[in-house]
Amino acid sequence: MKTISLLSRAKNLGSLVGKHWILYLFISLFAVLSIVFGIYPMVRSVQFSFLKSNTVFTSQESIGFNNYLRLLKDPYFWDSFRLTLLFTTISVPLNLISALCLAQMLASKNLSKGAMLFFKLAVFIPFITPDVVGAVVWKQFFNTNGAMNQLLQRLGLAPVGWLTQSGTALGVLVFVELWKHVGLYTIIFLTNYQLIDPSMYEAAHMDGARAWQKYRYITFPALRPALVLNTVYAFIQFMKTYTVSRIITFGGPNYATNFLSYYAYSKYEKMDFGSATAIATMLFIFIILLTLVGMRMGGNENERK
């Protein structure tokens, strides 16, 4: 019985592939590229995490979970993990709320076409600016003798060690990452905004709904797909934060911005391939798990609706 069912499934699949062979061809090409350039290095990276670092390219001596156990005993790893979580916890809501507000403003009918284009560009350009370029400019801006301190001094205020004190350095990175990414989230929200049927607002208006009620019962539920997408993407993005830490602070001062990705890189730089890939693997698993949870929660909410 099972064999018959399998055979009929295979037949169905065969006829489906035959019918849409161009579609399957294009998808297959992409799948091959993904496997070769995406999944294969990932698998190798996981494999490396079980090897003794200085044998990765030679005898490939397996040491089981030793790299992981060493990391679990490393206080710098735990500090880095907590720091990455803190940074993500601050950055995700900050970016999403800012993007929602910006999208709301950009969707306003009071903006002329030209003004809307200008503001859209202004918000989105940081996202397409190369990461390194943006980071270098902000680093110069916040240096001890940078433009920010010069401005403060002109206002009669004392200069601040933006990048030389733990708290302010982290704050600078939160700000730079907000500047960098909020444009993308805004555009996604804005696209979703533009899909909302205006007649729903008119009907609500006729029913005497106030502005807040319209937002609460029409806008917000309609934005749920964009919200889920943005939340998941932002979470992944900020858990993996690397460039700003590498360019602006070198993980400092005193490891105050030593995010997991940067910590893995610094291990790699010292040719400690085992630890570097173990950190990358743990970060990968953590992100996958939390993304699945997030998507499941987003999905459940939609199903309930």
Partner: protein
């Protein structure tokens, strides 16, 4: 029978002709020596100059030299040395090549036999050999040296830099740093975002000390040199600190930017920097290079030999004989002259016309100045990366500690390094 003999003769002639042709081809056969080097295309003329010298004797040898940035170079060479093969010689700082040698379980060949027959071997000093060797063998064939001195700006209004005020001693260094600070600029800069140990090499080795954080056993030496560690850290974190505060979040590139904008009083100057920095419009402004201050009365004061740069030959190099032949020419006068022209440095200082040296290049070719090599541990202990990580983390803690906690942080670091040694031994 007659016909048979004719056929035989014809065959013999044919074979002879074919064999003769083969020999001609063999003689003319070209051997390509593949070289990978760090440092960009500007260094290519050096490798070409060596090739030109070699081709006078070996016209069928030629090189194919390809450059990589450091990060790519390190992993690519490590992979090649340990697995894929295909490269004959690799060029970089000796410290990096020794690291690859260690990580690859001794993937580079001992070049001592080649060196011992080199007619120019007398040019190479004991210091050069110390920085280029591992496990009793010569891993890196030295070509030139990275030497560092202390640069002092002389064009800052309000700061008098004279023979009297030059930072020959630690106290004078502190006084001059304070003067720069009073004039509105950091008195000193050296990056701390990466390689925070280098500054101790400069100050402690520059005073003639050795085994500055590990001895040969190994045991941590920080406590035995605690006073000097405290002094250096205090320039950054102490009550009267004048070190550029941004240094903890900076690497080489940022440090160079600061120097090239003329915004720090004292800084590291390499022999590879001085020629360019002396050019008008370099941005550094007026400055002079001197030896590192002696940390104590009675101690010496000298320049610091940070590294040698040279070539290593992987054990799996496909053209080993040709590669060894190439090495025999790197210390020749023509090659050394090309090394000076492309990298501002060479082993054979006699090829340098001192009259054409720029003002601040001169000190690096002044035989009267002491030259102290830094310690090299990478080749001595297989677990060096592990203890070095502990050392660097501890230094970063010390630089970020409040002045009152600098000493205890350094003492704690001494114990942590010893603990790491025991755990990894």
């Amino acid at each position: 029978m007659k016909r048979f003999i004719v056929v035989l003769v014809l065959l013999a002639l044919l074979v002879n002709f074919a064999t003769a042709k083969g020999t001609v081809e063999e003689t003319a056969k070209e051997t390509v020596i593949t070289i990978w080097y760090e440092g960009g295309d500007a260094r290519l003329p050096f490798f070409k100059a060596v090739e030109a010298e070699m081709q006078k004797d070996y016209p069928n040898y030629r090189i194919d030299a390809v450059t990589f940035d450091n990060a790519t170079f390190m992993t690519k060479v490590l992979q090649t040395v340990t697995a894929t093969g295909g490269v004959d010689l690799v060029f970089n700082d000796a410290s990096r090549l020794l690291t690859i040698n260690q990580q690859s379980g001794g993937g580079f060949a001992d070049l001592s036999p080649v060196f011992n027959t080199d007619p120019n071997k007398a040019l190479v000093t004991a210091g050069d050999l110390k920085l280029s060797s591992a496990d009793g063998g010569l891993v890196v064939y030295p070509i030139n040296r990275s030497i560092a001195g202390l640069g002092v700006k002389t064009d800052v209004s309000g700061v008098r830099v004279t023979d009297e005020t030059m930072p020959k001693t630690w106290d004078k260094f502190l006084a001059l740093g304070a003067a720069f600070k009073a004039a509105g600029m950091p008195g000193f800069t050296m990056h701390l975002g990466s390689d925070p140990g280098q500054v101790f090499n400069l100050f402690l080795c520059g005073s003639g000390m050795s085994d500055i954080w590990l001895n040969k056993i190994p045991e941590c030496q920080i406590v035995s040199k605690l006073e000097y560690y405290k002094r250096v850290v205090s320039v950054y974190a102490g009550a009267n600190a004048f070190w550029d505060k941004d240094a903890t979040s900076e690497g080489f590139a940022e440090m160079y930017n600061k120097i090239l904008s003329g915004s720090v009083g004292m800084f590291r100057v390499g022999n590879w920097n001085a020629g360019n920095w002396d050019k008008p419009g370099s941005g550094v402004g007026e400055y002079t290079v001197t030896t590192w201050p002696s940390m104590e009365v009675g101690m010496e004061s000298g320049l610091v030999l940070l590294n040698t740069r040279g070539l290593a030959m992987p054990k799996n190099a496909p053209n080993q004989e040709a590669a060894k032949t190439y090495l025999r020419y790197v210390l020749s006068k023509e090659a050394q002259s090309a090394s000076f022209k492309t990298m501002g440095s060479c082993i054979d200082v006699s090829v340098v016309d001192t009259a054409v040296l720029s003002k601040n290049q001169k000190i690096f070719f002044d035989a009267s100045k002491k030259l102290f090599p830094i310690d090299t541990y990478v080749a001595q202990f297989p677990y060096f990366p592990q203890i070095n990580e502990v050392f660097e983390k501890g230094l970063i803690r010390a630089f970020n500690a409040s002045p009152a906690l600098i000493e205890s942080t350094l003492i704690e670091l001494n114990s942590q390094v010893n603990k790491a040694i025991q755990e990894n031994k």
